[in-house]
Point group: C2
Chain length 418, copies 2
Amino acid sequence: MRQSKLFYKTQKILSEKIEVISHQLLLRGGFIDQLASGIYNLLPLGFLVHKKIEKIIREEMIKIGAQEVFLPALHPKSIWQTTGRWETMDALFKLKDRHKKNFALGPTHEEVIVQIVKRRVQSWKDLPIYLFQIQTKFRNEIRFFGGLLRAREFVMKDLYSFHSTQEDFEKYYKKVISTYFRIFKRCGIKTKLVEASAAGFTKGFSHEFQAITSVGEDTIFYCSSCDFAQNKEIAEVKEGDICPKCKKGKIIKERGIEVGNIFPLGTTYSKKLNAYFIDKDGKKKFIIMGCYGIGLGRLMATIVELNHDKNGIIWPKEVAPFLIHLIPVEIRDKKVKNGAEKIYQNLQKNSYEVLYDDRKDASPGEKFVESDLLGIPIRVVISKKTLKNNEVEIKERAKKKAQLVKIKKLQEFLKKYV
Amino acid sequence: MRQSKLFYKTQKILSEKIEVISHQLLLRGGFIDQLASGIYNLLPLGFLVHKKIEKIIREEMIKIGAQEVFLPALHPKSIWQTTGRWETMDALFKLKDRHKKNFALGPTHEEVIVQIVKRRVQSWKDLPIYLFQIQTKFRNEIRFFGGLLRAREFVMKDLYSFHSTQEDFEKYYKKVISTYFRIFKRCGIKTKLVEASAAGFTKGFSHEFQAITSVGEDTIFYCSSCDFAQNKEIAEVKEGDICPKCKKGKIIKERGIEVGNIFPLGTTYSKKLNAYFIDKDGKKKFIIMGCYGIGLGRLMATIVELNHDKNGIIWPKEVAPFLIHLIPVEIRDKKVKNGAEKIYQNLQKNSYEVLYDDRKDASPGEKFVESDLLGIPIRVVISKKTLKNNEVEIKERAKKKAQLVKIKKLQEFLKKYV
């Protein structure tokens, strides 16, 4: 894409009120834009990143046999009454249609999906079922915070699984854990699997995937040596304790952003919504359920939170809006311009995602500052000087050193980044 | 995909109240499911088709230089007051957040997108701009009808263009017309470009893309010989008249479904929202706008409306949930099963989208009836009889005749459908 055509505008300074760094950088880089408190527009650069995250999640969901659906945001009141959540869920946006019928805007889809599944399940042979969607959620929060970190409207991946036995559920639950780790790894962030409250659904715990960072809203306690980790709300340890699991490590206290959560729902919803199956023994049993969420916007903000420096964002390769930022210095020089155009055409032909800074009215200094802010992983610079030796200068955003590469060998050199 | 794993369930008969054939077939085939009046779940099969339509539209939008954004559904009241539509637009769903602030659920996004664009446009050099999104719209309709044909919540592609001159706008408007024809063609439907009311935006007309079918809500008059076509609301001709444009053809009256519309907005919104630029002559001018919509659900239903027979849907290739329906007859026979498995693996390896009817508990008759209902374009049947000659039977859903093809030559034979 030619940068002169890209719809974006970076900003140098923002109001000091915007304290969270990912919020700052996403606004400054022109990735997002605020429409109202806790409600954001995804602009072209932001949409490209969001789409990459969506692609990763979709691929990983399909790998574990999940099938994609797309469910409405408008839910009739009756279905939320069945589970009692019409009254108890504070974050429910409520509205009426012109016939005075009541609706909620879906903050989650257990009610809707159980209704769909129960109509299509008769016997144990119809189970398990794994359904997911990537769709907009609405939450009437008291407090919204950190831009995309806690918004009132956001795109979420929600997966629901339906099982005939507890064993089968547990097997899948573990599969989802591995899948989530893989998703977050591909997105360039490390996460910890943290035990949290099951919110009364089952006797055990639910699990959160926490990214450790000081801007996180959650407090977690984890072991320096083994994988023990608990959310503050259920933790029975304090900082400095010896780990109750491995008896070796020490307990560390940190803040975290919950980028994913997985819930054993047991039969809570299937009982309330009367979703059952006939088991091998001929008996009617309630379906055992799990639900598994990832908020895409929050994940995008967390990626920035964990991948930036003082100059801007450092997008991990798989979620970057473009892989390569091609910057000609002295673009008014004919040789430089022709050289850049040729490289741009060649890279495009070979399916590289390139942002080509073809602007004539920006100085080299401005281009580099902006390039650091936007955070595209690989910068390819072409100038009079590099052209003398038929070279370009390549610098990874995450590294300090640049290196010179012969233009002839550029394609081959770039292969390692694909 | 193995059919035994696919989350779907077909139905033989539906309530007679469901009069529209596309509505019937999409429900019966398990593509969609009703959550409330005018509000539908997209189930896995329906989602696959929807996604294909989305892909076609996105590809065509990118070809005409449009950049993708994703805008919220929750719009603050203030922005709808600026254009006066908070009071005048009847189809606006309205709600309050917990702080008693008023919001609308976006039925369209002119207000939001103009606000985004105006902050980033200073001079004529910043124009033109083309932005689109594929996102959920909400319309508080009095009447909803025909399943996905007129829903209260639906996914829409909305494109907005911003120009410094009328000439530039008109050039792009024509480009969008060609693009729309191409989109509908790829989706397997013929459309007519019909003049309609500009709803007061400009002096001229707006244009609708109408698919001719008796279930359509619109009445249109068109020429039997040239491209003259007008919506009833503005038509100054009647059935049987001589065409006022070519003076040769006769005027025909038909019903149509509006699958797309394009609007010259002029400066209506830019004036109300104060969106201007500094022109070459140093003068402040209002931005000239166009908007261009396609409802994905309505398009999906229209495709069915125009592509079915008495046995079910006949999906056009590019929007079909799968390209190939692989059906083993006598699947309990080891040779048939092994043969089918092998073909399935091979087709998948070569990236064909195959639904493989591996169910053991369905009779051949049931399989074929269901296959006709689901409407996958190419049916590949393997049986004891075909295996004797190392063959499979291939039948296109749209054609009556089947033909035998050597299994060895299957891949080569299928190439013509890709």
